[in-house]
C-alpha cells in the first residue's frame, strides 16, 4: 500500500483493497483511496421482479448508501454513472431474466468518492465471478486555481478546485467509458485530464492484478 507514482509528477494516494470480506453477498470488496473508503457487495444472478425483468439480459441495480443520512439526488446521479459503466462491461446477456444487485456503502468520504465507488464495484464484481468483457477503473482529476491538474484529490483539494472530473477507463483499449464533470474547463484541459487518467489507470490495473494475485497465492 504505497503511493503510486503516475510518472508525470502527479500521484495517486495510498490504495488498499480486500475482497470477500462479507459472508452473505455473492461477492464483496472494500476499496481505500487514502482516507476515502467504500464497501461493496454484489448479489446475483438471482430471481428478478417481474416488472424489472429484461428478456435478453440481466437487470442490474446499483444502490449507493451515504455514510450519514438518507440517499439524495446526488447519490442517484452516482448510481446512474456506476450502473451504466458496469452494464457496459458485464456480459449480462449470459444471465437473461435475472437480477444483479450492487450495493456500495460509503464508509468515509475524503474526496474522489465516485472513482472509489467504481473501483470498489469492479473488485466486488470480480469477486462475485460475474462474466465481464473487460475491467474498468475510476480516476478523479481536479484542476486547481493555478490550472494545475491533481489526480485523486482529497476533499480539501476538491473544495479548492475550479473543475472536477471523474472518468471510468476500460482495461482493453484505455478508452473513456464514463465521464462526469463539475465546473468549467477548456477542451485542452479535458484532453490533458483524460490522458493523465489513462496513464493513472495503468497503475490502478496493476494494483488490481497485484491484490488479486496476493489473495489467490494465499489460498493455493
Amino acid at each position: 500500500m504505497d503511493q503510486i507514482e503516475t510518472g508525470s509528477g502527479s500521484v495517486l494516494r495510498e490504495y488498499g483493497s480486500e475482497q470477500n470480506l462479507l459472508s452473505k453477498p455473492d461477492g464483496s470488496a472494500t476499496f481505500l483511496q487514502g482516507d476515502t473508503s467504500v464497501l461493496a457487495g454484489v448479489y446475483g444472478p438471482a430471481e428478478v421482479k417481474v416488472n424489472k425483468e429484461i428478456y435478453d439480459r440481466a437487470t442490474l441495480e446499483v444502490v449507493v448508501q451515504p455514510k450519514v443520512g438518507m440517499s439524495s439526488v446526488r447519490e442517484r446521479a452516482r448510481e446512474q454513472c456506476v450502473r451504466e459503466t458496469c452494464e457496459a462491461v458485464l456480459l449480462s446477456t449470459l444471465h437473461p431474466r435475472s437480477s444483479l444487485t450492487l450495493i456500495l456503502q460509503v464508509v468515509h468520504d475524503d474526496g474522489s468518492l465516485l472513482s472509489c465507488c467504481l473501483n470498489a464495484a469492479c473488485m466486488a464484481l470480480m469477486d462475485a465471478g460475474l462474466p465481464m468483457g473487460r475491467l474498468f477503473c475510476g480516476v478523479t482529476c481536479a484542476i486547481d486555481s493555478d490550472s494545475q491538474i491533481i489526480t485523486d484529490p482529497t476533499a480539501q483539494q476538491e473544495r479548492e478546485s475550479r473543475a472536477l472530473m471523474t472518468f471510468a477507463i476500460d482495461s482493453k483499449e484505455r478508452n473513456v467509458l464514463m465521464s462526469s464533470t463539475k465546473g468549467s474547463f477548456s477542451v485542452k484541459e479535458l484532453q490533458q485530464c483524460i490522458a493523465l487518467s489513462q496513464k493513472a489507470s495503468e497503475k490502478i490495473f496493476q494494483f488490481y492484478r497485484d491484490s488479486v494475485k496476493r489473495r489467490y497465492s494465499k489460498i493455493l
Binding site: 442517484r76 448510481e79 446512474q80 452494464e87 464533470t181 468549467s184 479535458l190 483524460i194
Partner: protein
C-alpha cells in the same frame, strides 16, 4: 434488405445508418427543428417552452424571498427540479421521481454551478438577512429523446425572461418592502448550451437522438459549452468506450450548435419585446 421496425428495431436503424441517414430523414449530424416560446406562463416570474422535434419541455421560474444559507451569507439559491411525469412517456410510472429525473436534476444543478450562469451573489439582497431563491421547475410534456438539451435551452431562455421586483429593507421596521412597480431582469453571465450525441455499435456517432435511438444506442454523451468555448460539463453516464477523435468531434459540433441556439434565443427575445 428490409427490416421491420417493431420486430428488429436495431437492424432497422442499422440499415439506415449504413446509408448515412436516419429513419426520420435526417442526416447523422443534423439536429431536429428547434422552436422556442418565451414567456409562455403568465403567472410565473419567467418561463419558456422549447420543442426539439417532438420533445417538448417547459420551464417556469418562481422567485421567493428567504434567509441566505448560513455557510454562504452573501449568496442566494437556485433550485432546479426536472419532472418527467407519466404524461410524457409510457416509460415513466406515477409516484416519486425516478432515477432518470433525479439524475437530470443533479446534472442541471451541476451545470448551473459549473457555468456560473448567474452569480449567486447577485441574488443576495442583504447579507445574512435576505436573499432570492429561484425555483426553476422544468417539466417534460412530450418525451422523444434528448431531454437534457431541451432542459438547458428552456432554463436559459426562462432565466433571460425572468424579472424580479426591487426589494429594500426598511431600516426602522426591519421588514422587507417589495416594489412591484420596479422590476429588473437577472444578470446572465454565461450562456451554456448543451448538445447530445448517441453512439451506435461503438462506431457511428449521431446527434440529437430520439427516444428510440437513445434506447438502442450503446452510449449517450452530453457536452455543454458556453460562449467562450469553455466546457461546463462533459457527461457520459456509461456505455461503450469513446476514442479521442470522437470526443473532439462531439465538442466541435457542440460549439457550432451553441451559435445556432444562441441566435435562436436572441431572435425570440427580440420578437417578444417587439410584440409588447
Amino acid at each position: 434488405m428490409c427490416f421491420i421496425r417493431t420486430a428488429e428495431p436495431l437492424e432497422y436503424h442499422r440499415s439506415f445508418l449504413k446509408e448515412n441517414c436516419r429513419p426520420d430523414g435526417r442526416e447523422l449530424g443534423e439536429f431536429r427543428p428547434t422552436t422556442l416560446n418565451i414567456g409562455s406562463i403568465g403567472t410565473a416570474d419567467g418561463s419558456a417552452m422549447v420543442k426539439i422535434g417532438n420533445t417538448t419541455v417547459i420551464c417556469g421560474i418562481k422567485a421567493e424571498l428567504s434567509a441566505p444559507p448560513s455557510d454562504a451569507p452573501d449568496k442566494g439559491y437556485i433550485v432546479p427540479n426536472v419532472d418527467l411525469p407519466p404524461l410524457c412517456s409510457s416509460r415513466f410510472r406515477p409516484g416519486p421521481p425516478g432515477e432518470q429525473a433525479q439524475a437530470a436534476s443533479q446534472f442541471i444543478a451541476d451545470v448551473i454551478d459549473g457555468s456560473k450562469i448567474i452569480k449567486k451573489e447577485d441574488l443576495c439582497i442583504e447579507k445574512s438577512k435576505l436573499c432570492w431563491v429561484l425555483y426553476c421547475d422544468i417539466m417534460c410534456l412530450d418525451y422523444d429523446g434528448n431531454v437534457l438539451d431541451a432542459c438547458i435551452i428552456t432554463l436559459l431562455a426562462a432565466l433571460k425572461n425572468t424579472q424580479i421586483p426591487k426589494v429594500t429593507i426598511n431600516k426602522e421596521t426591519d421588514l422587507a418592502e417589495v416594489d412591484i412597480e420596479h422590476k429588473r431582469h437577472l444578470q446572465i453571465n454565461k450562456h451554456p448550451v448543451s448538445s447530445s450525441f448517441a453512439v451506435f455499435d461503438d462506431t457511428v456517432l449521431i446527434v440529437d437522438p430520439t427516444a428510440e435511438e437513445e434506447s438502442l444506442a450503446t452510449s449517450v454523451i452530453t457536452a455543454v459549452v458556453d460562449e467562450d468555448d469553455q466546457l461546463c460539463a462533459f457527461h457520459k453516464p456509461g456505455g461503450s468506450s469513446l476514442s479521442a477523435e470522437k470526443l473532439q468531434d462531439c465538442i466541435t459540433r457542440s460549439v457550432t450548435r451553441h451559435r445556432e441556439v444562441g441566435k435562436l434565443i436572441d431572435k425570440v427575445l427580440e420578437s417578444t419585446k417587439a410584440s409588447k
